[in-house]
Amino acid sequence: MSELVVENLTLSFGGIKAIDDVSFSVEPGEIYAIIGPNGAGKSTIFNAISRIYTPEAGAIRFRGEDLLKRRPHQVVDLGLARTFQNIELFENATVLDNLLVGRSARIRSTWLAEWFFTPEVRREEYAHRRKVEEILDLLDMQAHRHELVRDLPYGARKNVELARALCAEPKLLLLDEPASGLNPEETTDMSFWLKDIKEELGVTVVMVEHDMNLVRRLADRCMALGNGQVMAVGTVAEVQGDATVQAAYLGSAAA
C-alpha cells in the first residue's frame, strides 16, 4: 500500500488555480522529490497535505487514513511532520526547548499533573529528553543545545527545523526546500543526514527542492510541477529528459 496518496487535488486562491488536478503517490521508505519553477504550487501542496489549506476538490490519504477529515494538529498524530520554507521556529526559546515542543504529539500528561509536577511527569520528561538527545546526536547539534534560536546562523536554523520535525517521530516527512540558502558544504551535510533519516529511521521523505544535484543524488522518484499541474513523474533521469519539463525550465526552441 502506498504511504501517501494524493488524488485530483485542486485548490484556488481567488480566481487563480494554485493546484490543478494533481495526483501522485509516494511509496514507503522512498525519497520523493517535487520540483518545478517558482510559483508552481509546490508549497501549496504541502500546505494542503498538512491541512493548513483546505482543497476544493480531491482526496489525500495517508496510510489509508483520509487526511481531509482531520484538523491540522491531528495530522501529526498519524505520523506526518513537516518543515517550513521560511523557517518557523520559536525565536525566543533554546534549541532544546524547540525540539521538546516537537514531542508535543506524544505528550500524555494532564494540566493538573503538571501543576504538581508528579513523578510521572518527571519520568515522561526524562523519556522525551532522551529522544531529543538522540535526534541531536543524529544531526550533530549537541553544541547548540542551549543556544537561543534567534542567535543561530541560517544553516543551523534549518537543521533545528529538521530536527524538530524528526522529534515528532514521523513516518513521513514533508521537507519544504531543505537545502535552500545553504552553502555547498552544508548542502552535502544535509544530503548525508537525509540519507541517514531514510536508512536508519526508515522515514519516508517527500521534499520540494530546487537544487538538482541534491535531487539527483537522493531522490528515488520525482515529480515535476508547472503552473499547478503535473508535468512529469518518474525517476529523476526520466523527468529531466521529459520535453514538457525542459520547455518549462529552458523554454522551447524557436520553430
Binding site: 518557523e88 526559546a93 508535543s104
Partner: protein, 358 residues
Amino acid sequence: MQVLFKTHYDQDIDHLAIRGERFRILAAVGLALAAPLLIDSYFVGELAIFLVYILAGLGLMVLIGFSGQVSFGHSAFLGIGAYAHSVLLGQGVPFLISLPAAALLAGLVGAALGRASSKMHGFYMAIATLAFAIVVETILGEWTDVTGGHMGLEVPPMTIFGVDLGEPWQQYYVILAVVLFCIWGLANLMRAPKGRMMIAVRDSETSARSLGVDIARVKIAAFFVSAMLTGLAGGLMAHLLFYISPETFGVNESLKLLLMVIVGGVGTITGAIFGAVFVTVLPVAIAFLRELLPTSLADMAGLEQFLFGGIIALFIIFEPEGLYGRWRKLRLFIETYPYYKRATFVRQKRYLKTGRFK
C-alpha cells in the same frame, strides 16, 4: 557566576539548580515568612495587599507573557472572584470551599471568554476583553439582589475550621501560603510540556499547529488558568478590603494590572513580582513627587493620572523589557564586570512589513 556542568536531566528540569538563584529565592521566602515578626502591623497589612497583587499579576502574566494573548479587562476576574467568594461566605459556605469555588467560577468565565476570543488577534482581543470588563462591571452594579449593587457588599470575616482569622498577621500567612503555592505550581507548569506549548502558541502558531499542538485548546486553557489565579487573588483581596463595590474592579484596576505586567517585565514570574513592587510603590512615589512640585501644580486634580500615564509611556519607550529587564542587565553587569558590554542588549531596528494581503 556559577557555570553549571550538567550531568543529569534533573539539572535541566529542577527549579533553582543554580546556586546563586537558590540562595536568592530561599532568602526571599525566609524574609517573607519572618516579616510579621519584624515589622509593624500596618505594614503587614500592606504586605498582604502586595502579595495579592503578585497573584493577580501572575494571572495576567500567564495570559500575556506566556501564551501571548491580550487582556485589558482582567479586573473583571478580580471582581468575579471577590464577589463570588463574599456571596458564598455570606451563604455559610466554609472558607476552604468558598475560595476555590470562587476561583473556579472566575476560571470558567475566563475559559468562556477565551473560547469566544480564541480566533481574535492582538488588539481585537484587547478591545473585546476591555468591553467584557465594562459589561461585567455594569452587571455587578445592576444585579442588586445578589451583589448589593453600587451600595457595596460587606465581606464576611475569614474563618478556617472555626478559627476566626481577623488579625493582619493571620491573614498575611494564609495569603502567603496561597501565593507561594501558586508560584510553585505555575513554575512547575512552565517547565513542563504544557508550559512549552503555551510559549509555542505565543511564538509561532503555524508551526505549533504543525507539531500537534491544539492551539484553541491551549489558548482556552491558558485563559482558564489566568482567570482562576486572578479570581483567587480577588477572593483574597475581598478580605483585605472588608467592603467591595463594583467601582473597585473597573477599568482603572485593569490598567493597573496591565501596568504591573508591562513594567515588571513580560514573560517571567519574577516580572510579575517586580510589577507588584512597582504598583505598590507608585502611589508613594507620586505623593513624593507631589511634594517636590510647586503647590499650584501639585494641587491640580488629575496629576496622578498624568504621572501614571507618563510612567507607562516612559517605560515602553525606554525599557520595554521592564524592571526585570533592568534587573537582568544589572546582574549581568555585576557577574561579568569589567567585561560588561551594553551592546549585548541593543534592540535591532525593525521596519514595518505588513502581514495583510488584501
